[in-house]
Symmetry: C2
Subunit: 222 residues, 2 copies
């Protein structure tokens, strides 16, 4: 039986939630529990080394509320924030899960962790019901059926040294990516795909927030 | 000034709503109004020739409820249903809008109609917040940034003869497609892209239905 891997759990939560206009997402409540509290509970189930990136002005208050976690002031971009969290990770495997997805199930976190052992990299991807078009200048450049298309989701799980190498490569190439998976793929690593959850939504707009309240009320009732 | 185009409006509503398990979607209520009634109201705003495909057993009842529309028993697949509706279209331009998207705004319908004049084909596509992966055998074959990726949406607008040609080509090639846009693109036509609406959701699961109630309540209040 392989040795049980130890995980550092990185939570980028430094966004200012500009699109929602309700302050930093970390402190928004979904069915009576903040988004950060929900993700912290997920983290604690798998990791004894939780590192959270928050808006600089909130670091002290969050540190007081979560004395067992390492609290770091976030960077200027999500990519920078994750790099700062990675510097503080103590274990040889890291999981990343955004505070903007507070409704992820513990089962999905386990599944992504499990899958990552194959190549050192795995992530959740969400199924879609409709085909996807790749659009350029108002025209369809390519299109893919719903069966083969997936939306990026999280959590992500990596061998820490692999993720550190992807960041070094990104610096060398001056690469900026919306997603950590893109950075890792760009470095030539094979990111394994885990089927995500439709309820693990990313909360960006007030409509997402309304949907999240519905999902959370159902899950908390169950 | 160009002659005002006349539109036939085709509504595929023959699905049995198996995934939802609440009977045919057409008759599901969103905030007190059936999905079919909502799409019929959209259709009436642009078209005097509305053709609806419903489950065979419901054709008579729907015809009684909507005496001004042509009611047709749907085919075995969405592709077949639309072809049957197309046979009944009286005008030289057709718009297609699925009953599963009852929350489309009249403005989006107008925008797609307007755009279609450029090449004879246009459709709504929904923006995404995250990148898209193309997956094969559990591995990422390609990935695209959120900026260039779009989810297929509706309405669709076509010159009727162009759409009829796409169907003839599909028969000749034995082509089955999830979406009408795929058929039209496969025939070599240039489908113009119109920015869709996040609220114009496709109702497939009970979670979609819950979200639809939230969206409809807001829109009906506005």
């Amino acid at each position: 039986m392989p040795e049980r891997r130890k995980w550092s759990f990185l939570i980028p939560a430094a966004g200012d939630g500009i699109r929602l206009g309700l302050g930093p997402k970390a402190f928004l409540e979904i069915a009576g529990k903040t988004m950060l509290a929900r993700v912290m509970a997920n983290a604690a189930a798998i990791s004894g080394d939780v590192v959270v990136g928050v808006p600089a002005g909130d670091a002290e208050a969050v540190a007081a509320a979560y004395p067992d976690a390492a609290i770091v002031a976030g960077g200027g971009t999500r990519q920078e924030t994750i790099e700062k969290l990675l510097e503080r990770a103590r274990h040889t495997w890291v999981m990343i899960h955004d505070v903007a997805r507070p409704l992820c199930s513990p089962a999905l976190i386990e599944a992504v962790a499990e899958k990552s052992i194959e190549t050192g990299a795995a992530a959740a991807f969400c199924p879609v019901d409709v085909p996807v078009a790749i659009v350029e200048g108002g025209r369809i450049k390519a299109h893919y059926g719903a069966r083969e298309a997936r939306l990026f989701q999280s959590p992500l799980a990596f061998r820490a040294d692999l993720l550190r190498q992807a960041y070094r490569d990104a610096h060398a190439a001056g690469r900026l990516a919306q997603s950590t998976v893109e950075l890792v793929v760009a470095s030539g690593y094979d990111v394994r795909v885990v089927e995500g959850e439709r309820t693990n939504i990313k909360i960006t707009t007030d409509l997402d927030l309304a949907l999240a309240q519905v999902i959370a009320a159902r899950a908390d009732d169950a």
